[in-house]
């Protein structure tokens, strides 16, 4: 699919370059020889059923999980070896992590702004509080917030350093439709205003269709389909991405080889 001799670190190269990436736990492959690029400024959806390897892949992109083989480069930096060179330019949100419960939203954002070396911290925090409408619970302990409020605070943490690369693991899971829609708008606006690269792992196909320029589908750790949502719909002859997803994970209309369905 992708020539492996393309130097990912080249100026203007992809924001994220994944090459033959594998992760094996005991004898089971959680991720198997993934190879793909994510272009700068794009939003890419990472789809797959439970246990498909999405979180492990994101973990390796963050450098929190070491690959068994293969490489991940973010903004030209090998995440297994030199992740600290680029961590200040990226951020993430995941349901597997939380903000310290006893600290207020204000205190948490101050700590993370300082960790990320934000110059004018109070001004940046004020900006993000307005953007994400955190005012009404800004001085409440993070542990006392509703699921929707917690998601907004986690998103505020993820955007505090105005990241060039944003990794979002199910950012709208467990949110009501209204809040979910609001979060999607924030993500869209952020990409539009900052030209950021966003990787979005989600089970919400409508969300993926709305936000993503491209979709990567995983099944048991293997890349089984990729392309723009429109191209995938055309290729599988389906009306919704959800139907395409079901075809892929259930092996219906399975293509004979890994598909790259370009628009």
């Amino acid at each position: 699919m992708y020539p492996l001799d393309v130097p990912a670190s080249a100026a203007g190269g992809p924001a994220i370059a994944v090459r033959q990436l594998s992760k094996v736990y005991s004898s089971e492959a959680a991720v198997n020889a993934l190879t793909f690029d994510i272009a700068r400024g794009s939003i890419v959806g990472l789809l797959g059923g439970n246990g498909a390897g999405k979180t492990t892949t994101i973990g390796m992109m963050m450098g929190l999980i070491l690959p068994t083989s293969g490489t991940v480069e973010v903004l030209g930096v090998d995440m297994a070896r030199n992740r600290h060179q680029v961590l200040g330019r990226m951020n993430f949100e995941s349901p597997y992590v939380d903000m310290p419960h006893r600290l207020t939203v204000r205190q948490n954002l101050r700590v993370f702004a300082r960790l990320y070396g934000i110059k004018d911290r109070e001004s940046r925090i004020g900006e993000i509080v307005r953007q994400l409408a955190l005012d009404s619970f800004f001085d409440r302990p993070s542990g006392n917030l509703s699921a929707g409020q917690k998601t907004r605070v986690a998103l505020a943490k993820a955007l505090i350093n105005t990241p060039e690369v944003l990794l979002l693991d199910e950012p709208t899971a467990s949110l009501d439709p209204d809040t979910g829609d609001w979060v999607r708008s924030v993500i869209e606006n952020y990409r539009r205003e900052h030209g950021a690269t966003i990787l979005l792992a989600s089970h919400n196909m409508a969300e993926v269709e709305r936000l993503c320029d491209r979709v990567i589908m995983l099944k048991r750790g293997t890349l089984v389909a990729e392309g723009s949502p429109q191209a995938l719909l055309a290729r599988y002859g389906r009306a919704t991405l959800e139907d395409v997803f079901l075809d892929v994970v259930r092996g219906r209309n399975a293509p004979a080889r890994i598909e790259k369905a370009d628009s």
């Binding site: 929190l64 992590v97 006893r102 993370f112 990320y116």
Partner: protein, 278 residues
Amino acid sequence: MAISAHPNATFSLERVAAMVTRYLYLLRSSWPRLLDLIYWPTVQMVTWGFVQTYVGQASAGSGPGRFGVAAGTLIGAVLLWDVLFRGQLGFSMSFLEEMYSRNIGNLLMSPLRPLELVAALIVMSTLRLMIGIIPVTGLAILFFGFNLWALGLALGAFFANLVLTSWSVGLVVSGFLLRNGLGAEGLAWTFMFLLLPLCCVYYPVDVLPAWLRTISWALPPTYVFEGLRAALTDHVFRGDLMIQAFVINAVLFASSILVFLWLLRRARVAGTLLQMGE
């Protein structure tokens, strides 16, 4: 290694300060946490203070023997043991707070470097020790007329050696927490008690069987507690013991940093860093 306040430095004091601020926010938010720092050292000191008083009175009837003199070291030993135990607990508890709140992933994904986190934990261990121990030393003077501060320079050497050991143990325990998750939480509370009989807090090394003395002398706190007994009973400062303790501590601390970094790497291999929590 470049030490700087610059956000992109290899070692950033700004990031260390951020983490210390985070832990101070936490301490400030909960008075039971503050009370806990003082409560147990006070209970320990008062209990052992009365034991010391009783033993002193019981031995007075038969004249001032070695037993009566040795009893005078009990409060000192208890206070210094608390420095060792509370130093490690202060280090490990701050680290455990990150795991309880499932914040480790956020921290390790931020520009914070492992050694900056370690530095912040060391600062917090010291602060928590000060909050816990200083008032108790005052109470020891008030209740039992025992002035730990009268040890002067020797106290500085004792303190430095004990906190170095406590941080080494704290580092290894934190490494196991990273690698094994909260399943290893018990280590934070009990690991130091393994050292209690071996480093001869309440009795001289001579009491141990010969084969155990070798192990005991491999532990820096043994030198401190022997030094304390020498200071209180013979009124001499054993600088030789303190130097030996510093040398062993230097090796121990450097090794514990390597063990911590190795366990962090093992956690990255095992893929456990994103799944930590209660």
